[in-house]
């Protein structure tokens, strides 16, 4: 068992998968010579050469589409889009092509590719570089969307994504790259796509998150435990398919739920979770489902504004306590 960063877990997994399968190769802007904007691919060009670690021009539509085409012929490209904001330039290729080719042609050709891309805010990157638009992809059948929150999960899910025959959008997070966690040495776990996980058991309330918000949810639960509040944390892990069963089972147990999401509230991921909860756990709800989400503004640059707009430990804690108060648990 060793403690490594999320970044290291991704890099180790990419390297191992490239050694395992000759068809796996990397494409993206600045992933080779520059070794990646966020250094995920550090050292890989030296190890594998230009053929398998391919720097692309700044042309997301072109190189994402090329990855799809290569996948149609059986390669397993792992594309890095520098941040999820830039995926908008490739959205036609991702949604109209990657997601459609298998079904639209009657199941003749699959598209075994991975698009790795970080979302996240909080780095003072301003409106166009702080969005969390994984929702766009989670909306589309034919895509699989994963959002790991720990190094071990990142490794196991990236392994699963690369070995899967469908296009997988693999959501990373700028705020998670330096986070550390235990990853068993020589671990070869391949995560099951489409499964959420109860990452902390509790009895009073269910707190749901994914990616960075799953980590923050864990912190909130830990802090509240000291106050005698037992929070159950559900890490969605897979945004599509969505594991409604795990969510609903937890809410049936606790009777109330708070959803923490790094995206905008209206029509957001949390809206889908809340809708699922009302349908699956209607008779078990003791309070309305509460969502904690980004303020609905283009993300400002100034730090106080940015911090105010983002969900935080404090705002999630408040929502959890208010929900508990609503069900008769008098908590501060």
């Amino acid at each position: 068992m060793s403690v490594i960063t999320y970044r290291q877990a991704l890099r180790d997994t990419l390297r191992a998968e490239m050694h395992r399968d000759e068809n796996v190769f990397l494409m993206g802007e600045e992933i080779g010579v520059f070794e990646g904007s966020y250094k995920i691919t550090e050292g890989l060009l030296k190890e594998f050469g230009e053929r398998r670690v391919r720097d692309t021009p700044i042309a997301e539509e072109g190189f994402v589409g090329a990855a799809i085409g290569a996948a149609m012929l059986g390669l397993r490209p792992v594309v890095e889009i520098m941040t999820i904001n830039f995926s908008l330039i490739a959205i036609d290729q991702i949604i109209n092509h990657a997601a459609k080719i298998y079904g639209m042609f009657g199941g003749q050709t699959s598209v075994p590719m991975v698009i790795r891309t970080p979302g996240g805010g909080g780095q003072q990157l301003g409106a166009t570089h702080s969005q969390n638009i994984e929702l766009f992809y989670s909306f589309v059948p034919g895509l699989k969307v994963l959002a790991p929150s720990t190094p071990a999960e990142a490794a196991a899910m990236l392994r699963a994504a690369i070995r899967d025959d469908d296009p997988v959008l693999f959501l990373e997070n700028l705020g998670l790259y330096n986070s550390k966690g235990e990853v068993p040495e020589g671990d070869e776990t391949v995560a099951e796509i489409g499964r959420a996980a109860v990452t902390r058991e509790g009895t009073d309330i269910t707190l749901i998150g994914y990616s960075r918000m799953a980590m923050v949810a864990g912190q909130v639960a830990e802090a509240l435990a000291a106050e005698g509040i037992s929070v159950e944390v559900v890490d969605l892990r897979s945004l599509r398919p969505l594991d409604r069963q795990t969510i609903v089972e937890s809410v049936c147990k606790t009777g109330s739920a708070v959803i923490a999401e790094d995206d905008w509230l209206t029509y957001g991921i949390g809206a889908e979770i809340a809708a699922s909860i009302q349908e699956g756990a209607f008779d078990y709800l003791d309070a309305p489902v509460r969502r904690v989400a980004m303020a609905e503004v283009p993300m400002p640059y100034a730090k106080p504004l940015e911090s105010a707009a983002l969900p935080s430990v404090e705002s999630i804690t408040t929502a959890v306590k208010e929900t508990l108060n609503a069900v008769g648990r008098r908590v501060g």
Binding site: G65, T109, A275
Partner: protein, 422 residues
């Protein structure tokens, strides 16, 4: 200024690019010197077909010189007329003729079936493009890959798919090429390596580039052909794909079918460089323009580029000029075209022309003509009958093709189903 539709019998509005201007100044004299020469004989100026090339070498000298014809329409230069008809095998020529006629009759039948509501959705026909299609497809080897736009029925047949599976797909039947999942715009067949008609303009370009990347990655000797319309040369995917293909030396031929009208917009009204074969120059991609009405000219030009792409491992651009005999799609009355233009399109019917050439050369006898006509009619009737009698896809198969790898919690919910069953 509003750009009026170009009269088909007038020269293009824009003159040839002057030497030393813009992208054409990119090439060095060394490149000019090493630019491969196009092999082909120069025919008489009056010949009905032509081939025009745009190479790196062209960037340093006046293009075309005084060869632009003052009559007969398009600017033409360095004519590469089709191989002498006498050098061709009659059997091969008759097969081209048959293929062209098959596509013609197939598309006519398709138009009819559409109006009878046997076919739904959008439906774009290849009427008038038969020579281009057969020429292009003949230039490809079986192992080569084809990507096209949504005007794809003829290409599917030309690449080797059976008219039955194409027609059944149009009818939306389970026996169709894509089992009824694709329809008119999405013909696909892994067997014949027809890797898809694509409905989104430009969508196929990055994909074809990626397919060529896969070939290159594996050191294969296949070539990818990527067909598109003239309007596609303005979309971002065009620029990104040509750039990547050239940058990475990928074996892909980008083929632009220029019928001078993107839906209803004249090419000059949408492309700043309406001589589309020149648009590869920004990416150092050699471009060739060919008369799409001439099956042999198209075949020769395409075959040349395909084999060069295979041996040289680099992309090429081929522009085939053509006439669209009908509207953009079955439901388009094409009112934006003048009567004269329609008349000209008709008078430029590639099948009529090829028929006349073959008859004149004594290759197509009256008897053979009848026989081919009958067999084609039969084949099309058989395709339609097959489609008509094929079963509709079972609703139970609705969730069969969402994912290739089965996945937990995949939704199989029908519209009225609750997310959670009681």
């Amino acid at each position: 200024m509003r750009v009026l539709p170009r009269q088909l019998d007038q020269p293009l509005l824009r003159p040839a690019v002057e030497p030393g201007v813009g992208a054409h100044a990119l090439a060095s004299p060394e490149q000019q010197a090493t630019a491969p020469a196009f092999s082909g004989s120069t025919g008489p100026e009056e010949a009905d077909s032509y081939v025009e090339r745009h190479t790196m070498a062209d960037t340093a000298k006046p293009k075309g010189g005084g060869t632009t014809r003052s009559t007969g329409g398009r600017r033409r230069s360095r004519k590469d007329s089709p191989s002498n008809i006498a050098d061709e095998q009659p059997k091969v020529l008759l097969e081209y003729y048959r293929q062209m006629l098959l596509i013609r009759r197939f598309e006519e039948r398709t138009g009819q079936a559409y109006t009878q509501a046997r076919i739904g959705g959008y439906c774009h026909l290849n009427l008038g493009e038969e020579a281009t299609i057969v020429g292009l497809m003949t230039a490809l080897q079986e192992r080569d890959y084809l990507f096209t736009n949504y005007r794809d029925h003829g290409y599917a047949i030309g690449k080797g798919m059976s008219p039955r599976s194409v027609m059944a797909e149009l009818y939306g039947r389970s026996t169709g090429a894509a089992k009824g999942w694709g329809g008119s715009m999405h013909m696909y067949d892994t067997e014949t390596r027809m890797l898809g008609g694509y409905g989104i303009v430009g969508g196929q370009l990055p994909l074809a580039t990626g397919a060529a990347l896969a070939i290159s990655y594996r050191g294969g000797d296949e070539v990818v052909m990527c067909q598109m319309g003239d309007g596609t040369t303005n979309i971002g995917a065009w620029h990104e794909s040509l750039n990547i293909a050239s940058l990475w030396n990928l074996p892909v031929i980008f083929v632009v079918i220029n019928n001078y009208t993107g839906m209803g917009t004249p090419v000059e009204a949408s492309s700043a460089e309406p001589e589309l074969y020149k648009r590869g120059s920004a990416f150092r991609i050699e471009g060739v323009r060919v008369d799409g009405r001439d099956v042999l000219a198209v075949r020769d030009a395409a075959a040349n580029l395909v084999e060069r792409a295979r041996s040289e491992q680099r992309p090429f651009l081929l522009e085939a000029t053509s006439y669209r005999m009908k509207g953009h799609s079955v439901v388009d009355p094409a009112k934006y075209r003048t009567k004269e233009q329609v008349e000209e399109a008709r008078s430029n019917d590639p099948i009529t022309a090829f028929e006349a050439t073959l008859e004149k050369a004594g290759i197509l006898t009256e008897e053979a003509k009848q026989e081919i006509a009958d067999s084609v009619r039969e084949e099309v009737a058989d395709a339609a009958e097959f489609a008509e009698n094929s079963p509709h896809p079972e609703v139970s198969t609705l969730f069969d093709y969402t994912y290739a790898t089965p996945v937990a919690n995949e939704s199989r919910r029908m519209p009225a189903d609750p997310v959670f069953a009681e």
